[in-house]
């Protein structure tokens, strides 16, 4: 690349990243808050409104940061190597978005503890926040990755094909992704929830539920995208039908991920421990 071209490219990147950063740090729109409340069937009150806005701002900031970083890296690599692959860019952008999501879930604020630490004795279980099938999706996707890897190895052995790195790397990436997503799902489930005002607790439960849905949907889609990449190794020995399956798999993974991540889920909050002294202000993000 010539010096002039590189300077133009660098300026364009800076402007793009600056515009994205400016948008990501702006106020959260009322429409987004209302959509969140509608999905969780949550009443937004003066007590929990700020809590929800902070959550939406934190997740938006980190997701956009993930996309911006990965986009910049991908474009830089493509410009330097003169190779453009739209499929790789789209999958990479999604991976960046999801990486931002994972970081955001670690950074999301939890309710502040009072002067005397207190806790409800009500167990927090996954099924309180998302459906059983949605909770099982990530391990199932990891299982599919293992099954496809085994099938690929068998097929390649039978056809005496040459070793292919994608047959080994993608299953490992898929399993690592599933492991990280599961660990963060558990961290979200065990995020501190000290006693607080009922509407603050309801908002905290709604946030937890939305986080678990996004992690389940996004994590499953990412693991399944790794599975479709594994199919490249199969393609060498099985011809065109694998490419069709791959295209179908990408579409299904994207649809399933979006469907699970955006699924409505009424916040279930009842019984003991629901009400207590008000301490409900979010702390550090």
């Amino acid at each position: 690349m010539s010096l002039g071209g590189f300077v133009c490219f660098a300026v364009a990147m800076c402007v793009t990243v600056g515009m994205v950063a400016s948008w990501a740090s702006g106020p959260v729109s009322r429409k987004r808050v209302e959509r969140f409340a509608r999905r969780q069937r949550l009443d937004v009150t003066a007590t929990n409104g700020d809590q929800i806005i902070r959550y939406l701002a934190t997740t938006r900031r980190w997701r956009v940061a993930g996309v911006a970083v990965v986009y910049s890296l991908a474009i830089t690599v493509e410009v330097l190597t003169y190779q453009v692959d739209r499929n790789v860019v789209l999958a990479t952008l999604f991976a960046g978005w999801f990486t931002g999501t994972l970081v955001a879930e670690i950074r999301v604020a939890h309710l502040a503890r009072g002067a005397r630490p207190a806790a409800s004795l009500q167990p927090r279980r996954p099924r309180s926040y998302l459906s059983r099938p949605a909770w099982a999706l990530v391990p199932v996707a990891a299982g599919i990755a293992v099954a496809v890897a085994a099938a690929t190895v068998v097929a390649r052995t039978l056809h005496r094909a040459d070793p292919d790195w994608s047959a080994v790397v993608w299953p490992v990436v898929a399993l690592a992704t599933a492991g990280v997503v599961r660990a963060i799902q558990r961290a979200v489930l065990h995020r501190p929830q000290p006693p607080a005002a009922p509407d603050a607790l309801a908002a905290d439960d709604a946030i937890r539920s939305r986080s678990l849905h996004v992690l389940a949907g996004g994590g499953t889609a990412l693991v399944l995208l790794c599975v479709t990449a594994q199919l490249d190794a199969m393609h060498a020995v099985d011809g065109g039908s694998v490419q069709v399956w791959r295209a179908v798999g990408v579409g299904l993974a994207a649809f399933l991920g979006w469907r699970v991540a955006s699924a409505p889920w009424p916040t279930r909050r009842a019984g003991p421990g629901a009400a207590a002294p008000t301490t409900g202000t979010p702390v550090a993000q």
Binding site: R116, P117, A118, S120, L121, Q122, P123, P195
Partner: protein, 130 residues
Amino acid sequence: VIIEIDPGSPTPPYEQIRGQLATMIATGAVPPGAHLPSIRQLAADLGIAANTVARAYRELELAGLVASRVRHGTTVTATPPALPATEVHRRLDEAARTYVTTAHQLGVGAEEAAEAVRAALRTGSPGQRT
């Protein structure tokens, strides 16, 4: 049902948790068969080490009040015999005397001290909030 930790108390946190849970089980506030939160959840909510909660659960298990099973968590096994009325009164009297001593040490009058108790009863106390 809520449990609290008093950071200023000379009683170790694990003993505070054990004592409150034992009392709640004895009074039926936590009924037999009820699932207790996981060690990790309770530790996160209280902001203490998981080992502290694990020790409290272990002591409760040794006392036969709870049972822990892998993948099923910790459940209350059975309600021990209810405390006799005399024992309830003795414990209440003991707690009241401790409170009065503290009020005297703070130079608080009888009416003000009684009002503080009434206020605490109105807002609820550990193990009674719902």
